[in-house]
Symmetry: C2
Subunit: 339 residues, 2 copies
C-alpha cells in the first residue's frame, strides 16, 4: 500500500475535491492504470464494432472478505460472467464504489488489488469509475457496481427462442459453493475441509465452447442468486417448455452437501458464482461435456437433464430415491446479500 | 401504480427468486419496457459502430426527493451528461438499484416514473439492470448506479491536449442551483422564491454545438461535485496551463447568491447538475455563446475567462472589487451526498 496520510475513508473522499483526487491518484488510478483510465476523464472513449453485450451488477455481499475471494473479484467476475452468458467476452468495465465512512484503507487497498488481479486474469480493463462516500450507518463498508461491455462471439446465437424439446442441459461444475461459503462465515461455522467460493471468470471457457459449437449452444445462464432451481424455472417460463432433471446427475461436493444439511439449505437454491448452465443441441451434448470436463474447473461437469414439451413452465426432478417432484423457484429470501 | 400485495421493499425482493420477479415484472419491466430490456436476460445485446463513450456514476443523494427532481432523473441525467462531456450522445443505460429494506413502494414507483420520463426526454433506453436489497440501517432508502454508452459525434475531438493559451472558457448557465437546493432541504430552510435543482440532460445541446463547431470545441466538463472552481483547477493541472476568470462574468442567480450567503457557501464550490463548461477556440467563442444563449436553459450563458500560459496549474480570479486571488480546488467535504 502507498504511504497515505489517512487510514480510514472519510466523507471528504467522496467530495469530488482534493481528498477524492488524492485517494484516486495514489490508489485506484495507479493500481488499475491503462491507457483509457489514465485520461481521468468522466468517461472513456474506445472503438466497438458490431454486436455488443452490456451488463450491470451491484455487489453488496456481506462479509466483504471470504474464503476464495472478496467483494472485489466477485464484482469483476460477476459482470464478466453475465456478459459471457450473452455469448460475449467482456472487454471494458466501469467500476462504481459506494464507501461507508470509516472503511479501513487497508481493506479498500486489498479489494483494489483483488480487482486488479481479477481483471488481469480475465483480460478486461477498468476504463472509467466513480467513488461516493456515505455517512457511517448509511451503508455497509463497501458496495461495488461493475458494468461491462464486450463484443459478441461471431458464431454465438444465444436466444431463449432457440431452445427446443430434446435439448440437453449441461451444468459446468458442482453446486452451492459460493452461497455455503458466505453462509458459514455468517454463522461462524467451521468445517473439517475448507469450502471456498467458486467466484471465477467464465469468459474464456465460454468463448472456447462457442469456437467449437457455435449456434448449437442455444442458451447460457449462470445460476447465481436463487440457485440452479430458479434459473431452470426461468428458462421453462420464458421458453414455454418443460424441463426434466435427474438429481443423481447434479454434482454437489460432499462437504458442501454436508454443510447444506447442517444449515438446512437445499443446494439447488443456493447461489453459485463460477458456474454456468448450457442448453445445447442433443447432437453435440456429449462432445460439449467432454470439452467442458477438460477445463480446469470442469471435472465435475455433467448433463443433468433435458428440455421437454411435457409439463410446460415446470421443472420436474427425478429424486435419488426414485420419485418425481416439481421444483419451484426460490420463493422468499434464502440468503440475503450473497453477492 | 399497479396493485401489489406489498407496500414496502423487503429483503426477499433482492433474492433473485419469486419476489424479485414480481417486483420487476409489475414494476420496472412494465414501466421501462423496450425491445432490449424485454428480453429479461442478464445482459443486453445491440449494435455499436466506431468510437463509443462509456461512463458510470453511483447516486447517493440525500434527500432522495427535492425541488426540481429526485434521485431517479438525477441518475439518468448525470450519466447522460458525463457521456455528453466526451462529445457523445448517450444511447443505452444500465440501471442498478441498491434498496434499503423498508423503502416505500410508492416512493420507488415515483422514482421509476421519473427515470422513465427522463429517459424519454433525453432519448435514451434502459437496456439492462440489477436490483439488490440490504437490511435496514445498511443503506439509505435507495442508491442508484447508471452506466451508459453512446456513439461519439463524428466531428468531436474533445481532448485536454487540444487546449491552448487564448482559448475561451464558456459557462452554460448560472451556478450552484443543485447544491443549494439539496442543502436548503437538509437545513429546513425556505426561501421567498423557490430554488430548484438544475438537473437536466445536456446531450442534445452538446450535439448541436458539435454539429456547428466540431473540433473547435477543445474540452467539455460538467462542474458537479466540487463545483466550478474544482473543474477549472483540474483543467489547469491536466493541461499544465493557467486559467484567468473574472468574477463579474460568472452568472449566479440572485436568490441562489442570497442562499449561499445564508449557508456560508461559496457558489464556486457548490455542485451543479445541468451545467457545463466549454473550452473553445477564441475565434468561435462569441458565436458559440450566441448559440448557447438561444438554448432554453442558456439565457445566462457567459464567457467567464480564458486559458493562459501564465501561472500554470493555477486558476486566478479577478474579483468584483478588483483584486486577483488564487482559486483552489475544494479541499474537504463541502456538501456530502449531493448527488
Amino acid at each position: 500500500m502507498p504511504k497515505l496520510d489517512f487510514d480510514i475513508i472519510t466523507l471528504g473522499h467522496g467530495s469530488g475535491g482534493t481528498l477524492t483526487s488524492q485517494l484516486l491518484d495514489t490508489g485506484v488510478f495507479s493500481l488499475l492504470q491503462n491507457e483509457l483510465l489514465n485520461k481521468k476523464h468522466d468517461g472513456a472513449i474506445f472503438n466497438m464494432q458490431g454486436k455488443v453485450a452490456m451488463s450491470t451488477d451491484s455487489f453488496v455481499v456481506s462479509p466483504i472478505f471470504f474464503e476464495g475471494g472478496n467483494i472485489g473479484d466477485l464484482a469483476v467476475n460477476g459482470t464478466i460472467n453475465d456478459i459471457a452468458m450473452c455469448g460475449a467476452s467482456a472487454k471494458y468495465l466501469s467500476l462504481g464504489f459506494i464507501l461507508e465512512e470509516g472503511l479501513k484503507m487497508t481493506e479498500f487497498w486489498e479489494i483494489l488489488n483483488t480487482i486488479k488481479f481479477a481483471c488481469e486474469k480475465a483480460g478486461v480493463q477498468v476504463v472509467t469509475g466513480d467513488t461516493k462516500v456515505v455517512e457511517r450507518g448509511k451503508g455497509d463498508k463497501i458496495f461495488i457496481n461493475t458494468t461491462g461491455i464486450g463484443e459478441v462471439h461471431e458464431k454465438a446465437n444465444i436466444d431463449i427462442n432457440n431452445i427446443k424439446a430434446g435439448d440437453k442441459i449441461i451444468l459446468s461444475g458442482p453446486l452451492a459453493r459460493h452461497g455455503i461459503t458466505i453462509m458459514s462465515h455468517r454463522q461462524g461455522l467451521e468445517f473439517e475441509t475448507t469450502i471456498s467460493s467458486d467466484t471465477r471468470a467464465l469468459n474464456k471457457i465460454v468463448i472456447e465452447l462457442l469456437d467449437e459449437f457455435g449456434e448449437q449452444i442455444h442458451l447460457l445462464r449462470d445460476p447465481t442468486r436463487g440457485g440452479l432451481a430458479t434459473v431452470l424455472n426461468e428458462i421453462t417460463k420464458e421458453a414455454n417448455l418443460g424441463i426434466d432433471i435427474s438429481q443423481k446427475n447434479i454434482p454437489v461436493e460432499e462437504e458442501v452437501y454436508g454443510a447444506c444439511e447442517m444449515l438446512g439449505l437445499d443446494p439447488l437454491y443456493v447461489a453459485n458464482e463460477g458456474l454456468f448452465v448450457v442448453v445445447a443441441d442433443a447432437g453435440i451434448a456429449d462432445h460439449l461435456l467432454l470439452q467442458l470436463q477438460e477445463w480446469e474447473h470442469g471435472s465435475m461437469a455433467a448433463i443433468i437433464g433435458e428440455i421437454t414439451e411435457q409439463h410446460t413452465r415446470q421443472v420436474l426432478m427425478k429424486s435419488n430415491i426414485g420419485g418425481r417432484r416439481v421444483l419451484n423457484m426460490l420463493a422468499g429470501e434464502q440468503l440475503p446479500r450473497i453477492c
